[in-house]
């Protein structure tokens, strides 16, 4: 089987996304006869490469003229598919990777499955993949029956792949000039944003869900987090309410975390959120609903209102500090 892995994104992100793809490629290793890698970039040419655990036959460095506009990249890869077809196109699980996997599968009359967690060959012609569905509460199994298979890899917490200056194989450069002009884009500018999530690498995290109830209650949790030495994280409803910024969002659409202690308060525990804290060493869940799914993913549970429990916890910690 011939495969092409496509990595979008820059810097640290590209290494994390690469590590998401490695388990999928490893599970297909016996069937892989040839693996090429595309590294997409928009700024300067990357001079380092992710340390792939499997041999690459070629690396393509492809310059995208406009970050966030995947259309020229899709045209470029489909042109590559005509001259050098592959059985498998594996994209990273970014929004751009998802977009490319879905569109390329249709364009090449193949089959697509996105946000894949695991996969394996079921026979010579079929690839079976597993991913989350129904709010992350169920596992969906998809059998892809038509070549080429176009997948995107779900984000998983864990160590990013290392960098190396040696690709170990020939490298081909494709400058942006080779890309078709997108006349529908009149202008495009980059706007500075907070670059690092405060949650990345945090050793303790206090995650607040919709059960916190109000912006005022949320403000009362700041001293609790301070006493715990924890960063505050949020579930999607809290971010949607505008109570905390997006940089605090935990889950598959936010930050995937791996702290030693994660206190989850007032969150029901949707699958998309729980996937984001799965790698925590110890998870403490606090919820008024004893049937809340969050207790299924926790090590320790408290059925109660989060506010008095956490305020009492803060008092205890302060007392210990002063004594």
């Amino acid at each position: 089987m011939k495969a092409l892995a496509v990595l979008t994104g820059d810097g640290h992100e590209i290494r994390s996304r690469a590590s998401d793809m490695v388990p999928l490629l490893s599970s297909l290793a016996e069937s892989l006869s040839d693996l090429e890698l595309c590294m997409i970039y928009t700024g300067s040419v990357p001079d380092r490469f992710p340390e792939w655990p499997m041999a690459l036959s070629r690396v393509h460095r492809i310059q995208l003229p406009d970050a966030g506009v995947p259309d020229p990249l899709l045209d470029f890869i489909s042109d590559m598919a005509e001259t050098c077809p592959k059985n498998l196109y594996l994209f990273d699980g970014t929004d751009i990777g998802d977009c490319l996997a879905a569109r390329l599968g249709y364009r090449l009359a193949g089959s697509s499955c996105l946000q894949v967690q695991t996969c394996r060959m079921t026979d010579e012609k079929n690839l079976t993949s597993w991913r989350l569905a129904c709010g992350g509460h169920l596992l969906a199994r998809t059998v892809l029956e038509k070549f080429p298979w176009c997948l995107s890899a779900a984000a998983t917490p864990g160590t990013a792949l290392g960098w190396t200056g040696d690709s170990g194989c020939p490298v081909t450069d494709h400058p942006a000039a080779a890309m078709p002009v997108q006349s529908w884009v009149i202008s495009s500018v980059s706007v500075p944003v907070e670059t690092d999530s405060p949650l990345t690498g945090a050793d303790r995290i206090l995650v607040l869900g919709n059960g916190v109830g109000s912006r005022e209650n949320l403000a009362r949790m700041n001293p609790v987090a301070e006493a715990l030495g924890a960063q505050i994280g949020a579930t999607r409803p809290v971010v949607m309410n505008g109570w905390l910024p997006m940089a605090r969002l935990i889950g598959v659409s936010g930050t995937m975390v791996a702290p030693s202690l994660c206190i989850v308060a007032g969150a029901s525990g949707t699958g998309a959120f729980c996937a984001g804290i799965r790698q925590a060493e110890c998870i403490v869940a606090i919820n008024t609903d004893p049937d809340a799914p969050v207790f299924e993913t926790a090590d320790v549970g408290i059925v109660d209102d989060l506010v008095p429990v956490l305020l009492a916890l803060e008092t205890l910690i302060r007392k210990k500090e002063s004594s």
């Binding site: 966030g68 129904c134 969906a140 059998v143």
Partner: protein, 290 residues
């Protein structure tokens, strides 16, 4: 400008305890008597479209000649936006479509499927693409990123591919600039780009930059909406042959509950203080607290 937002209601899965899935051993996207809700991503998309329609440069339902001018000249009549809410769903969606009419959508359209399409992204996309290419096509199609219960994440990109339209992902905000052109803000974890674009195109939302809960209609708006109907089409009303709706490319079934590797120990007590004490003494070791 004409825009259409595609959505699909889902069950509120957070209300279904895990043991309910496990007890029945029957894994289905329809867990029974659980309330239907807007998918939060699509709720964000629906509100984003309303906010665009209410921007200072826009007003009222659109006419054909209200499409953005090539000149980019700010002069001329206000830019009018016509909003359509579109779903491929059974009649449980009608309540939600009425809500959308009440809060400001000009048109609500439901295509009734002849079978469950939660895991048939290409059929859904072909249905939507066929509707779009009908007699009064929109300039802008807006989607949430995940799709319905199947969460295949493919609908928006597939519609773009079928129509040959460009597609922008992770859309966080929409606005018209001073020259009455569409300004699309795309935001991801570590980057944000603002594109000024010329429709037609497909937009797939991400996490919005503004508060994005769908607005609640007033009682008067609700009463007014009762007099306006939801347009219901069947698949037979649409000629899907133009696009490859072949979901024979893949087949999907639900096979189980994701495994948890943890066992939860519950802390009991008569008061929150007692429970906090047990938590601090037993699980928050001194070395864990700064």
């Amino acid at each position: 400008m004409k825009l259409a937002v595609c959505f699909k209601t889902i069950h509120d899965y957070a209300m279904v305890p895990p043991e309910d899935w496990q007890m029945t051993g029957r894994y289905t996207a329809d867990p029974g008597p659980v309330r239907q809700v807007f998918n939060c991503y699509e709720e964000s998309a629906l509100e984003m479209a309303l906010a665009l329609g209410n921007s200072p440069l826009s007003s009222g339902p659109a006419s054909k000649n209200a499409v953005l001018t090539d000149s980019g000249d700010a002069a001329g009549p206000p830019l009018r936006v016509e909003r359509t809410a579109l779903t491929v769903d059974d009649n449980r969606a009608d309540l939600f479509l009425r809500h959308l009419i009440a809060v400001g959508y000009d048109r609500a359209v439901r295509v009734a499927p002849d079978r469950d399409l939660d895991f048939s992204p290409r059929t859904v996309a072909a249905t939507l693409a066929t509707w779009i290419t009908g007699s009064d096509p929109p300039d802008l199609m807006i989607f949430g990123p995940r799709g319905g219960a199947g969460e295949h994440c493919q609908t928006g990109p597939l519609v773009a591919e079928m129509l040959g339209w460009p597609c922008l992902m992770s859309v966080a905000a929409l606005a018209f600039d001073d020259s009455r052109r569409l300004r699309v803000t795309c935001r991801k974890d570590r980057s944000c780009r603002i594109h000024v674009v010329e429709p037609p195109l497909v937009l797939v939302t991400g996490i919005a930059t503004e508060t994005n809960r769908l607005r609640i209609p007033t009682l008067k708006q609700k009463l007014d909406a009762r007099n306006r109907s939801v347009q219901v089409l069947s698949l037979a009303d649409l000629d899907l042959s133009r696009f490859d709706s072949g979901d024979k490319a893949s087949s999907t079934d639900l096979v189980g509950v994701p495994k948890s590797h943890r066992t939860c120990t519950m802390i009991h007590g008569d008061s929150p203080q007692e429970k906090a004490q047990v938590l601090a003494d037993t699980y928050l070791k001194p070395e864990q607290v700064p």
